[in-house]
Symmetry: C2
Subunit: 218 residues, 2 copies
């Protein structure tokens, strides 16, 4: 399956001209964003909470303390809605009305389950760390059995998903285009670094290659 199903419920925010349903577009947005916002219902009330995520095939991995109420809720198999958004530019038009932002966003729905087996949990955490900074899992000190026990990892199967994208130039009315007003884009980007050494890191320990690469590539 390379497309997600288009159903009534995920059309809630999809203006037709900005919607995308192909997996490659959707997954690229999920992978570029480091965190997501998870929505769920508890005692009849809506909750939204930000958390880090990592995608592995058609599942989203979430982790946290075993005591986390969010993870408890998810691992009980309740449906969640997850929102991810990346801001790419402020779009300044000649008219106030046509001001906008360029962005890439994904809304997905799925149900979660706890990853219980120790080796699968370890593998999920490895994937998580490697997606954040490739090379870091082997470089850092591995989890002890006690640490592993204190960490809960939940896998959410991505059942429905859609992306919404606005890109490119502002759009002004024909009659406004010659107004003596500057219209254009102010791109927004994420910058990583420069690195800040922890007090207890000996000054003679070099910054390893894979961390330098992360700073360089963002």
């Amino acid at each position: 399956m390379s497309e997600f199903s288009i159903t009534e419920r995920n059309q809630v925010k999809r203006r037709k001209d900005r919607a995308r349903y192909d997996k490659s577009t959707i997954y690229q947005i999920i992978d570029e964003a480091m965190f997501c916002h998870i929505g769920f219902i508890q005692d009849g009330r809506p909750y939204v909470i930000p958390t880090l995520h990592a995608r592995r095939e058609d599942e989203l991995l979430i982790h946290g303390a075993v005591a986390s109420r969010l993870l408890k809720h998810i691992r009980e198999g309740n449906e969640v809605s997850i929102s991810i958004a990346i801001l790419d530019a402020l779009v300044l038009a000649k008219s106030v009305f046509h001001h906008s932002v360029n962005y890439r966003s994904v809304v997905l729905f799925g149900k979660g389950k706890l990853i219980e087996e120790e080796d699968k949990k370890l593998e999920a955490l490895r994937h998580f760390t490697e997606q954040l900074i490739p090379g870091q899992w082997k470089y850092a000190r591995q989890p002890t059995p006690a640490e592993l026990k204190a960490t809960a990892v939940v896998s959410i199967s991505i059942e429905e998903a859609s992306a919404k994208i606005r890109e490119g130039s502002p759009v002004d009315e024909q009659g406004d285009q010659d107004l003596p007003i500057w219209a254009g884009l102010l791109p927004v980007t994420h910058c990583i670094g420069p690195p800040v050494r922890a007090d207890y890191t000996d000054v003679n320990i070099p910054l390893p290659e894979h961390i330098l690469k992360k700073v360089k590539n963002g």
Copy 2:
């Protein structure tokens, strides 16, 4: 009131040591973030959708097309949960277990109502534009009555809110601190610019001072 009430329901994600309930901290985070994720319940299902926001005193302003289903849902007075998160740094520890991120996040609850009077709507849109780029409202072409009619603006009263913040250095176990591993922070920042002129903006139109300021100050 300078503190929000601490109730059972907004403790869902508040690890005690990271939680803050004072308005100045909470409002600073809301104002720095340009967009939020709104969670609501429709037909018994959780939905989360990203949207731009602007705070004015104890209300959050949201706007969009009159036909928007999200806005329709909010303006009917249903409770929504809003999540805002700003990522400040990747926190690299010597052990995988103590890897983390520095962030500032807010979760708030409120109910919305439509701003109907034309002058109040115009004032809300002015506030919205000015919060995005101070000086832009007067600089750009003002909304026509038809444009104003096509735009819905909703005000969400902030009834409960809490912030959660992680800041500072990684924290490693005493026994790990001398390991020959680099631990520290990789700061994450937003950068704005350089500006990209729209094709239909005459090259002789200078970039105005207030936009240059936005690029400079972020």
